[in-house]
């Protein structure tokens, strides 16, 4: 007899997501992923000056503002016919590079690591390391004061949770170190973005302000510190966990899904884009022994709304997409639409990028027996962070070189004015995966605007053929021995780094007691 289990909300993610599963004999037999917050900010853009789009879209999401600013600017580049000078591209890359370092480190330590450790094991640490003893004192102190956020509430640890006191205490120490590191990474982006949060330097045709040599050196100094953390702490931690206590989960392929992967490609290493940190490509039904990567054709992207709370329409290309809500629709269960490539659901993000790129480190783990899934996703994320760190050094050198050239440019000033009409798509690979913005311009104003964000691909509901989205498929077969503590479900979902934060941030105390603080 199947039993229904609802996890709502999935915590420690960005945004609001509900997962519902059907469990039979201790395993998931069916799953539904629901984005429970309405989005559709695109409607705000209709009728506006197209140059407002990077500003407005950077408020879509409280988390990845620069990411939307970039994709939106690229859509405008295409619609305006602007050619971004190499100097402008380099600065765009450096802004996004800092974003990667920030996001991935935060995701592993703050949003995921607690899924895999029994935090209370810290109390059993008996070693002599001063740093670790300080961590033990801090955590034990917080427990005594009953002030254990962010470490609780939690599910009870299961057989896969790491309980070794030294390993757990080290992980918690790194959790705290990571907080410091990503606070610093924020400031790296601000070197180019002018401020943090909400950088403001990416516009159609390039970026807004010329770099000076001090900025380059400040960025490099901060990068040195991040590189050390990534190489000496982040990657070793992920590998120690992934190939150690979590190897059974890796071998089991927990959270695999459809094995379809999409990367739009990003991060040019030369002006022509011959060499990319992340090549573009699409893989359908991965066969690790014979990986076939096809070219990405953006015309094959459609969105289906059969199971989403939008007015029924046939699957359409994003240029023609609409957001008309229909909350009475039977069978609908999500505000997330169902994007498909050539009719198929896709996984986007670090694992997709690394498999499409044929990254030897990630494929090496697969060869050793790790099936692509939750654990491999964490490994891919750590490995690509290092690729981006290394690329940042290349871009800094290239930028210094560009700056010495006469006529050094950072923006295409000839294409600042909107065309009478036009259309354009902007693609990028921000940390969470493939992002696309599509704009149609008419009479110099925005006629239609659509964005498909990475988590829309991954968190998609069923499509018009009833085919599950990637989260849903990745949950099938998952062991849930204790429905009160569905550790494996949240491990899988969090391994994708969901971001549905479009993005309410109200202080909502769930009590009227707050009213005693009314002053007028």
């Amino acid at each position: 007899m199947a039993k229904r289990l609802v996890v709502d909300p999935i915590t420690r993610i960005e945004g609001h997501l509900k997962i519902e599963v059907e469990i039979e004999n201790g395993k998931v037999v069916d799953a539904w992923s629901s984005g429970t917050m309405a989005r559709g900010f695109e409607a705000l853009l209709t009728g506006k000056d197209p140059r407002d789009a990077p500003y407005v879209t950077s408020r879509f999401c409280g988390v990845c503002y620069s990411v939307h600013q970039l994709a939106s600017s690229r859509a405008l580049d295409a619609a305006f016919g602007a050619k971004v000078p190499w100097g402008g591209n380099l600065i765009r890359n450096l802004v996004m590079g800092a974003e990667y370092i920030y996001d991935h480190v935060l995701h592993f330590y703050q949003l995921s690591a607690l899924d895999y450790i029994d935090i209370m094991a810290v109390a059993n640490y008996t070693g002599k390391d001063k740093g670790l003893l300080a961590v033990k004192d801090k955590i034990v102190g917080l427990v005594k004061e009953k002030d254990t956020y962010p470490f609780t509430p939690r599910y009870e640890p299961d057989e896969f949770s790491v309980k070794d006191p030294e390993m757990v205490t080290t992980a918690v120490k790194h959790y705290i170190d990571a907080l410091k590191m990503h606070a610093k990474a924020r400031d790296m982006g601000a070197i180019w973005g002018g401020r943090t949060p909400h950088y403001q330097n990416i516009i159609v045709g390039g970026v807004t302000s010329y770099p000076d040599i001090n900025q380059v050196f400040r960025f490099r100094t901060m990068l040195d510190e991040q590189k050390k953390f990534v190489e000496e702490v982040y990657i070793p931690d992920v590998l120690a966990f992934g190939t150690g206590p979590l190897w059974p989960l890796a071998e089991m392929g927990l959270g695999g899904g459809h094995y379809n992967y999409l990367s739009y490609g990003d991060f040019q290493l030369d002006p022509g884009g011959k060499e990319m940190v992340f090549p573009a490509g699409v893989i359908t039904g991965l066969n690790p022994a014979d990986i076939k990567v096809a070219r990405v054709d953006p015309e094959k992207i459609t969105e289906s709304v059969k199971y989403a709370w939008y007015k029924e329409e046939e699957p359409v290309h994003p240029y023609n997409g609409e957001q008309v809500f229909d909350l009475d629709k039977t069978n609908a269960y999500s505000f997330v639409k169902a994007p498909r490539y050539d009719g198929k659901p896709m996984e986007v993000g670090p694992l997709a990028r690394m498999i499409v790129a044929g990254n030897p480190d990630v494929l090496g783990l697969v060869k050793k027996g790790a099936k692509p899934g939750a654990v491999a996703r964490h490994a891919a994320r750590a490995i690509e962070t290092k690729l981006v760190v290394d690329a940042c050094y290349t871009w800094l050198d290239q930028l210094l070189n560009e700056m010495t050239k006469p006529g050094f440019k950072i923006q295409d000033t000839d294409h600042w004015d909107p065309p009478d009409s036009g259309m354009g798509a902007g693609f990028s690979e921000p940390p969470r995966g493939a992002l696309g913005h599509w704009i149609k311009v008419k009479d110099k104003k925005i006629e239609n605007y659509q964005a498909i964000v990475p988590s829309t691909w991954n968190a998609s509901p069923r499509d018009e053929k009833g085919v599950r989205g990637q989260y849903e498929e990745s949950l099938i077969g998952t062991p849930v021995p204790d429905p009160k503590n569905p550790n494996n479900i949240v491990r899988i979902i969090r391994s994708f780094d969901p971001c549905l934060a479009c993005a309410v941030h109200i202080i909502d105390p769930n009590t009227n007691e707050i009213r005693k603080f009314i002053i007028e």
């Binding site: 990503h182 941030h505 202080i507 002053i519």
Partner: protein, 163 residues
Amino acid sequence: MPELEGGEGISPQKIVILGVGNLLLSDEGVGVHVAHELMKLDLPPEVSVVEGGTDGFRLLNVITGADRVIVIDAVKGGADPGSIYRFDVKDVRNVPSGFRTSVHQIGILEVIDLSVLIGKTPRTTVIGVEPKSLEMSMELSPEVKEKIPRIIELVLEEVKRLF
């Protein structure tokens, strides 16, 4: 919770005025609207105004870099729209049933908790405004919009008290 007492009458090194919220959801963005207005004013060099947006984690560097923080945000307490709240973050910890924005993402209060872990928690005062509308729009409701000058006054009074 250990706290730096950037107290009354002492001039702290760094005061951050943080307007948070989402600009695309009408009154949810009141903090950002106020921050944009404050940016136009001539403020002492120790004071910086930050558009905080909606993700708390991304404010960790701002918060840990400050000695004193004044947050402007929408506060849903069920009072009349436009009502203004003022409280210190440490005072709301005693509110029954907790104060954390548990169902949403990491909010400003959670980040203040996290800042304890890396050793520095500035004293934080919230100037809150009861929203009327959270609909998708870049405009504030009239009830909240008419309070903007008063909110700015209150923030400036708050700053003045620190010098």
